[in-house]
């Protein structure tokens, strides 16, 4: 049994908040550069060049990649052989708030969603915790911007629906997003489980390395097929047309009920941000 003091994770999580928001993921940068090389339309290529330059400026000057530093989403993987001394959730919230303040990030959270009357804050982050085997504690912070979160869709298909219907759900969601959510997008898809669980899977799919594809060949083929269909929409970088409406599609699946087929689509803008630490 390993003991970790809740207080000791604070410095690490604070660093995650800064790193995730100012340092664009390498796999995202790689796909952006590949897209720029392959983009024929002048304004679209220019948009991609600006996106790549923006990541460099953010990195060099410790500025937020995007002014929307998001609603911070935290994924905790707690090893079953780890004992946390103290309240891990409180420590994470305090660390996220401190990290966001230290980075001069915007307070984007309205504590009162109905009357919108309260002073804006940096937290609460939304924390998802999984108990996993082993003696490690892994924490991931994903700043999720709401321009793209607003375009998330979950559809409860009939269990008799086919692959074509599932793919149509995904393509339709991207078409509805249009140019509004900062294309080129990274598309997370959750298939199965329940309405809420599919949504969570779709978001978790965005954390998978973009350089890989699904381990199952049939699902990996769906990812590739969806990417082609989405790029055929012609929305393009910044909505300026061109070949790259999305950079990648990642799918996560989970067993579901005989009566249903939940399909969730979580769209990420091109600034897909996350950072992870393992203790």
């Amino acid at each position: 049994m390993k003991t970790i003091k809740a207080r000791d994770i604070q410095e690490k999580v604070m660093a995650l908040a800064l790193r995730a928001n100012t340092h664009l993921r390498r796999d995202v940068v790689a796909l952006l550069k590949e897209a720029e090389r392959g983009e024929k339309k002048r304004l679209a290529r220019r948009a991609l060049a600006a996106i790549i330059e923006n990541a460099a400026v953010a990195d060099r000057k410790s500025l937020a990649i995007c002014q929307d530093t998001g609603l911070p989403i935290i994924f905790v993987e707690l090893g079953s052989d780890v004992r946390v001394q103290g309240n891990i959730n409180d420590s994470i919230q305090a660390a996220v708030a401190a990290g966001y303040a230290r980075g001069y990030f915007r307070a984007s959270i309205q504590p009162d969603p109905v009357f919108r009357s309260r002073r804006l804050t940096h937290v609460p982050a939304i924390i998802h915790t999984d108990i996993v085997p082993g003696n490690q504690l892994t924490i991931t912070l994903m700043p999720k911007g709401f321009g793209s979160e607003n375009k998330a869709v979950t559809t409860m298909l009939n269990p008799t629906a086919g692959v074509e219907d599932i793919e149509q759900c995904v393509v339709a969601a991207v078409q509805r997003a249009g140019a509004a959510a900062c294309p080129p997008y990274i598309i997370g898809v959750g298939i199965g489980g329940t309405q809420d669980y599919a949504g969570l899977l779709a978001k978790k799919a965005l954390l998978d390395p973009l350089s890989a594809s699904n381990k199952r060949k049939d699902i990996a083929a769906m990812e590739q097929r969806l990417l082609r269909k989405i790029n055929a929409l012609g929305i393009g970088p910044c909505g300026l047309g061109g070949r790259h409406t999305a950079l990648a599609v990642r799918i996560k699946i989970h067993p579901t009920h005989i009566a249903g087929l939940p399909v969730a689509v979580n769209i990420s803008c091109h600034a897909l941000r996350s950072a992870t630490v393992t203790l």
Partner: protein, 181 residues
């Protein structure tokens, strides 16, 4: 080559802009997003004074990050324009000349742009760090209690824009996305 647009703006200075034109803007733009729009329209309806005179001005749909020491402003890219669609026609009617944001606008907004001879620009979406480099000064002018949604006058130099909807109501989005899957 980008066309130059300089403060003070006039209807004449935007009349020659066409959809797809690249524009370099130097002067003042006012940030305003969701809650600020709701308040501006409420003030207009109650015939109250606005925090700034809308006439011939440009609103930037942006909620900037705070300035770190030594900087004019933090990251400050555009937010999604379509959330402001319900408020925009009234603001255009009361003299607003242009908007800067990202993404498509509603048919009502396009019609109002044409009717009042306004213009809708887009800028590099999701590039707030890069865009902050074009800002030389930021001054809060209203709704301070809204925090990031307060109205801020941003002084910008050669701020990069693309004309998305021109004074004739022609949109860059009309010409793309026709392919079916």
């Amino acid at each position: 080559m980008a066309k130059l647009l300089e403060y003070p703006f006039t209807k004449k200075s935007i009349a020659s802009l066409r959809r797809g034109d690249e524009v370099s803007l130097t002067g003042v733009v006012y940030t305003a997003r969701d809650q600020a729009h709701k308040r501006l329209v409420a003030l207009i309806e109650r015939r109250k004074t606005l925090p700034f005179d809308l006439r011939n001005q440009i609103i930037y749909y942006c909620g900037p990050n705070p300035a770190a020491p030594g900087r004019a402003i933090g990251s400050c890219g555009p937010t999604t324009s379509q959330r402001m669609d319900g408020f925009t026609p009234v603001l255009l009617e009361y003299g607003l000349m242009g908007m800067i944001g990202k993404g498509e606008r509603s048919a009502d907004v396009v019609a109002a742009i044409k009717k009042y001879q306004g213009v809708y620009f887009i800028t590099h979406a999701g590039c707030g760090a890069l865009l902050s480099e074009y800002v030389t000064k930021a001054t809060r002018v209203g709704f301070s209690d809204l925090g990031a949604e307060a109205i801020v006058a941003l002084e910008v130099e050669q701020f990069p824009l693309i004309v998305a909807i021109d004074t004739e109501g022609r949109s860059i989005y009309d010409t793309r996305g026709k392919k079916k899957t």
